[in-house]
Symmetry: C2
Subunit: 667 residues, 2 copies
């Protein structure tokens, strides 16, 4: 069957891998990206970006100082938003940006992700009419400033205040302490001249809670900070170093009353406060962001898997049998066991991400028709997925990186920065431990509803089912029935863990603790239950995708799904065994199957990562190049190191040469 990535001049080891492909790589890619047309557009954009001289990098970013990298990114961003803006559809923009500037951020990232959406959904008509056209036309650049140095997710404790002054009909905005400074918002430090700032609204000495205000930060002409405003960059981070995450202190900054975002809550000229009708209007926005995060994290893991798989096919080292030639390192079982589960997980995460994005769209439709009952389920699910997927992805990228040996440690591999970008997802948009507890709170409700025989939302329907005996290993060779046996075992385990956690919690309450303190005594167990609930959903989601896939790719997806299930079960074996639902023989059966899966998948491994359809430019990895010609490329890359601008480094001339000279003359 055709792998469509074979080209003359490729590394023969990689061509050999592609020739053993048993499916059509384009069909899998089209399935992954939704349609043949989407796949073609994806390629078109990749090709056009590569061909545009405005996007060319004279020196790769890896070798630039932070200031120069920010400069190069700003330069290309201007090209995107002046020249390219109308050439791509909004949903294609993330791919264009990835191709053109990479994954570490750009000056208008928060303008799109937060500034425009918050104005759109929260500004009243007057303010929207004034500011939105200017923002959409990129006459101004904005961001959203909520997090403070001393306060993260807990909005009620934000210290920044907006105090209403009736006499002038203005709000006076202050960050009263050091730790009240806004800290972390992307593009706040240097790029933005406006921001939506989250402040405690104070009227007549009364704190009415956090509200959003539009604040101009910098002069539109000079870009200098306005009076009362201290703003700057918070310094280097693991990654996202082309993003100017910023700090902001406000010292009696006055803004007109109408710059409060008053679509929902309102303050009249005389200081009368009208609260919003719905208390939790931001709920949907969080679900939206997390639903999209899941898909994009699948893509980050896919990149790492592509790099590791291709490199492992061209790298030869050591022998399996004495006397033979050096083998491709992809032939080692340990290497397959590191990398193949990451391929499977990347697909699983991408599939789950697409499913929750679709569910989000359906939920929105429902809300438009007055039905918001699917939202809590989706909220619990996206919270769980956000947490599980970001941590799983981080572990997976690191396994891929380490499987590349020493070269994986070099920025040439692209993997260090990929990990840096990816692992931030464990923290932003809701810290993972907190997310898992949100999921657990929903599970605890589900356990109660199930006890009471109530109907259960889709993601927790299994809580109402009865457990039978685990049929793992008892289905002979029937792969379809084996998949179902494993899924049912996972359902039992997810249910059992939720019920166990619920009982532990109740026991503490009965022992005299208040609900909240008792909760804090069982959160580790609660989080375990949330993780297994989430991993069950991922397995079910992959299974649905398999069942609905066209026959041309069904076989390879089934192999991949088998590997996925077996790996997940072995990874969670403790939970399968703990209550005796599975016995040791069943776990050993799963392991045996897993090792067989590695062998089965071997001939399709490179083709499966080819179907991720990531261009060389987007992948940005010397080791992961499509053509597999890595060694010459590695040398060409390294020569550009800033330490190689001179043969004799100033550090040597100034310190090491004099040191050696002094010591020689001592004799």
């Amino acid at each position: 069957m055709p792998n469509r990535c074979i080209r003359p001049g490729d590394n023969p080891d990689l061509t050999k891998e592609r020739e053993t492909c048993t499916f059509d790589t384009d069909e899998l890619a089209a399935n992954l990206y939704g349609s043949r047309r989407n796949l073609e557009r994806r390629r078109e954009i990749s090709q056009k970006v590569s061909a545009d001289p405005d996007f060319a990098d004279p020196i790769p970013h890896e070798f630039l100082s932070r200031e120069k990298a920010v400069d190069a990114t700003a330069k290309k961003s201007k090209v995107i938003f002046q020249k390219w803006k109308n050439l791509v559809k909004p949903e294609e923009m993330p791919h264009l940006v990835n191709e053109a500037v990479g994954i570490q951020g750009f000056p208008l990232a928060l303008h799109h992700a937060m500034f425009l959406p918050s104005l759109n959904s929260q500004a009243d008509d007057d303010l929207a009419a004034e500011i939105l056209p200017r923002a959409k036309a990129y006459e101004i650049i904005g961001t959203y400033a909520q997090t403070e140095m001393g306060h993260g997710t807990n909005l009620r404790e934000l210290e920044t205040t907006a105090t209403y002054d009736k006499t002038t009909q203005e709000f006076v905005i202050n960050t009263p302490t050091r730790k009240a400074m806004k800290w972390w918002p992307g593009n706040l430090g240097k790029m933005s001249n406006y921001a939506v700032v989250c402040c405690q609204l104070i009227i007549d000495g009364k704190n009415l809670g956090p509200h959003n205000f539009l604040v101009q930060l910098r002069c539109e002409k000079t870009h200098e900070p306005l009076p009362g405003i201290t703003v700057g960059d918070i310094g280097p981070k693991i990654a996202y170093n082309t993003t100017d995450n910023g700090f902001l202190a406000l010292d009696n900054v006055r803004i007109p009353r109408r710059q409060m975002l008053m679509k929902h809550a309102k303050v009249s000229p005389d200081g009368t406060y009208t609260p919003p009708i719905h208390a939790k209007l931001n709920y949907g926005a969080m679900v939206h962001v997390r639903a999209h995060m899941i898909y994009s994290h699948g893509h980050l893991l896919a990149r790492a898997a592509a790099v590791a798989t291709r490199y492992s096919a061209v790298r030869r080292q050591g022998r399996i049998e004495n006397g033979g030639p050096e083998v491709q390192i992809l032939d080692y079982q340990t290497q397959q066991h590191r990398i193949f589960p990451q391929i499977a997980r990347a697909y699983a995460i991408l599939f789950a991400g697409q499913e929750v994005r679709d569910q989000y769209a359906k939920t929105l439709e429902g809300i438009a028709n007055g039905q918001a009952d699917l939202l809590p389920d989706l909220h619990a699910l996206t919270s769980g997925l956000k947490s599980v997927v970001t941590f799983m992805g981080g572990l997976g990228i690191e396994q891929c990186r380490m499987s590349c040996g020493g070269h994986g440690y070099s920025d040439a591999s692209g993997l260090p920065k990929l990990y840096g970008v990816q692992i931030g997802g464990c923290t932003y948009e809701g810290e993972n431990m907190v997310m898992l507890q949100q999921t657990a709170r929903y599970l605890m409700k589900g356990v109660k509803w199930a006890e009471q025989g109530k109907s259960l939302s889709p993601s927790i329907a299994y809580l109402g089912k009865k457990s039978g005996k685990s049929l793992i290993g008892l289905k002979g060779g029937d792969i379809t029935r084996e998949h179902e046996a494993i899924l049912e075992t996972l359902e039992h385990t997810a249910r059992r863990l939720a019920i166990d956690a619920s009982q532990l919690w109740e026991k503490r309450i009965k022992g005299g603790e208040c609900k909240e303190r008792a909760w804090n005594g069982v959160t580790v167990e609660m989080n375990r239950a949330s993780r297994v609930y989430t991993r069950l959903f991922m397995a079910r989601s992959f299974h649905r995708r398999l069942l609905s896939s066209p026959s041309s790719i069904r076989s390879v997806l089934s192999d991949l799904f088998s590997l996925y299930l077996h790996y997940e079960c072995v990874d969670m074996a403790q939970h399968l065994l703990e209550d005796g639902h599975c016995n040791g023989g069943q776990i050993q059966y799963l392991k045996k199957r897993l090792y067989e899966d590695l062998t089965t998948l071997r001939p399709n491994a490179v083709s499966l990562v080819d179907s991720f359809e990531i261009s060389d430019r987007e992948l940005n990895s010397v080791l992961g190049r499509r053509d597999g010609n890595v060694y010459e490329a590695l040398f060409q890359w390294a020569k550009q190191s800033e330490l190689n601008y001179t043969d004799v480094l100033p550090a040597v001339k100034n310190y090491m040469m004099p040191m050696m000279e002094e010591n020689r003359s001592k004799l």
Copy 2:
């Protein structure tokens, strides 16, 4: 009991934590560093480095470009090796370097770690007499070049050749292909003017295998590369960016015959080759390096645990009970469960590291007396420890970092670079998967020896014991007997996994596979067995340390050891359950104990990390400062960002301001 770290002006939350200490932090620190005297010397060095203006950093390294950071490091290195050299003992040098220049490498790192030792142990008397005094006096700087771009651990496949030319009595050295270039050696790129280079020795067309040769790389006067030599820096990496890891191509470079390191193997002027008497003379050196790696990795994890614990004591966020004040995040069970096991593991790794260092010294003594029988045991043990400890440390540091929320992602926390430095350990000095297989090969021998009733070396003595019933949970409140019950259960599990793996291997061989191919089909299981063997040793080692500890710190060490054991068992529960040796009730008992341990340890958590005795300068973390005054420090740190040199960034002036201007004028 006294925590000795309380000072006026400290963050009151941290002082409060220190006041609940139940032991003497100095006594634990003295125990950790071997003696009260060692502890005092450690403090002296820290203080003197801080006071030396030559070591002052006008701008923290985090804000420097790579070239400037290399420059600052070279400047300080000259101070260390010209001014300080004779003020510290050799064994104190690592601490001095850590304090003065940090952990990312310095120009003379490989000179000490590899160049001097290889000359010492392998150069013949003539060459040693000529070169060693110059090297020791820092008249020259050297490194050791073995790894090639296309070849890592498998020495037999190195491509660099040293061909003997009888007519001139010279070796002609060549890197015949691109991937034959030496690649990765530290300090090779820019700093060193000499290197010991590992080459295939060719005489009369016959390849006599890898041998070492002293090669001058650069002119001593000008530091320019000599003719035929291409040398440079390989570019940026995850960390170690103040180290010039280098590449080296050699094109018909001629060196005199006597620059072969000929203490063992020899080439006479007429080209007669005399092989070395002992084949594996480097064996001991590898064990030595790995034994030291283990301790230093314990120290890296200790730093991360110190940062996370202290910061979690001063960070307040959210509430456990409604209406109460915001709580220290260290009060959350999830936070304790992330951090406390890392404290315990850091101690466990430090203890294990000290034990194998001592064992190494004893083994050397044995070898001096003609008894080398302890070396294979120590080799298997250090291979296993190297692998387990580096991976465990990486996971632990990341847990600590993520437990600091967003600020952990900033270089201000010091944790990103700490992870970067630490995680390299999974790859260098023997890739972890390969290391575990070396351990497994020894275990397989052990299983055979045990079957045959032979006497077993210390680390595998348990292979010869008989398993009883697991007594976990059956020892009432007797903590001493409980520890022993857990250790015996771990012994059973380690034994069972080794025997199972051995049987799987045999089964494949009986099925018709050759030994080597059969091995490749069971390596994942082999590696599991090696990990549990290693973790058993770590638990036993911690236990020995507990039993020999003075009574003043016995109680807190016992609490820490309980937490350690319970955490490890829950982490390995799958293995405990798989063969039915433990039942689910016992695992639930271990979890219950673990959650109790978290509460028990809470009042001593800060004091336990204080006893790591890491100075603020060495810790290099705004979040981990001894005084806990993090927020003001964070702002002072961030102000130094290179993006803050100007209020209006050139990137904004050149691209974003013109973009906005163009769009405004369109209207």
